[in-house]
Amino acid sequence: MQTVTDSLIVFAAELRRALRSPRVLLVLFLYLALAALTVLAAGFIAQKLQTQLTSQGQPTEAMLSPKAGFLAAFFRSDRVLIESLIDVPAAVLVVFVLGRFFLSAYVALLGFDSVSAELQTRSLRYLGIRTSRSALALGKGLALAAVVLLLVTLVHLGSFGYALATVPEFSFGEAARLFPRLWGNTVLIGLAMAGLTTLCSTLSRSPALALTLNLTALFALWVAGLVSDGARMVRSLPGQDGGPSWQERLGLLVPSTWSTEALYPDPGRALPAALILLGFAALFMTGAVAALRARDL
């Protein structure tokens, strides 16, 4: 119980710190600016495309083709998944897909020094005499997760708001139905990445090394995801049979694999994947707590 109370005290102080930190504010601004730019660009391109198709007398459904190509590039060319997202306005879709792709790097930039910088200056000693290291790691991890939540929420509200204002056929009811699915999916991957960043930050006294570790881990996860997707594609070719190879199974260790799974419209497939993503967040946070408890302050 004491750990929970102390975690909340640390969380409140860290959140206050994060929201006043120039670097965090800069990263938030960059993310929002990039998202806004993406929304405007995607909206502009979609509008031009629609105008062009209409002037050529072609059905507007022809617009679905570039959208499908874009989705196929990010979602394993999975027909079910692409069909479930094809009606999403371009601005929302592009922000969601690119945001999800770059979120890991943003989270790393937001939180790489949350613990490591305080280990370097030893200022953590003022806190470590007063509370458990578990409370310190949890409080800092939760604060990072809260900043990520805020970031993702702002970006999604912005893109949905833009789509509601500019796409006549995108109704409020449709937006309300779609928002929890896309927002929740990004939040889940964001939480897992917040856990990973907190873990990497506890592993080194040097913030630069902590950031390097974090980016290396992200790169390794990205490569593992690529290898897994490649192996799946090879297995899906005609004449290939047998079960999944170990390369394909490598994808099970990658949070983004489960993030994609969690996007499926079938709740029986999406919910377990969402829980696994939460499991990743919990696993990384447990690792951060264990690392901080084991190390010298």
Partner: protein, 303 residues
Amino acid sequence: MSDPALVLEAVSKHFGDRRALDEVTLSVPAGTVWGLIGPNGAGKSTTFNLLCGYLRPTAGTVRVLGLDPRRPGALKGRVGVLPQDAVLPSYLAVGPLLTYLARLSGLERPERAARVALEQVALSEAWDVPPPSLSHGMARRVSIAQALMGDPPVVLLDEPTAGLDPRIAAEVRGLMQRMRGRATLLVSSHNLPELEALCDGAAILDRGKLVQAGTMGELTARGAEFRIQVAKGDVPLETIRALPGVAQASLRSDGLLSVTVETGAGTPEAILNATLRLLLDAGVEVTGVAQGQSLETRVLAVT
């Protein structure tokens, strides 16, 4: 002496091949002020860090108020510490920072505790100042304030007066004096006269080993030796040597008369008085009297 508040039993700490502490056994009685003395690299800060639970001992047992300091939250509200080389967290101004630390210590009125602590170190005006804007001395005082906040039963101060101007250093010494009997203080300092005046006892470390520990009287042989500074006149050295209870008497060229008292020869004060009477009767001018060796002499002899 009462029960020990701080205990190290055969404690060793290795950093790779380097032995920072080597089988140190030490206990500090509750309610006393103890000094931790030794040259640079002797293991003082390592001892502090082990007592605070910042480091895990390679071997041996560490206990603070009977608790393992590595146990999560064991020292909460029980120990105040002034770390030597830790930078104050920079993300909150001094007042909010101390309030945050008081809250983490579990103090009932954290803001009130923070204000009282800042008043103790005469820094009330620094409430809204961010720590990076403080001078070295002011930052040190804020660190002392957080260590004393809430009157913890154990206070560990690593070089508390280093970098402070003489007036503030005297105030900090006064603070430590006032805590005598209310808390157990372990103070590390290179200022040996300061420790001699302040401490009930001390432990002397050298190259990771405990070379001597005891009460200040034991360390300075206060009951076994006295020194008299002579300014002018012929010292009746043979007569002094012949006094009952005097084991040895010697006179240095700078006029320092050292007299060693035989073990079990009664109160050294009686022999000191007899010696002074002899000197004054012989017309010798005396400018100073000191009992025992200085702590500095003792430390220099054993390290």
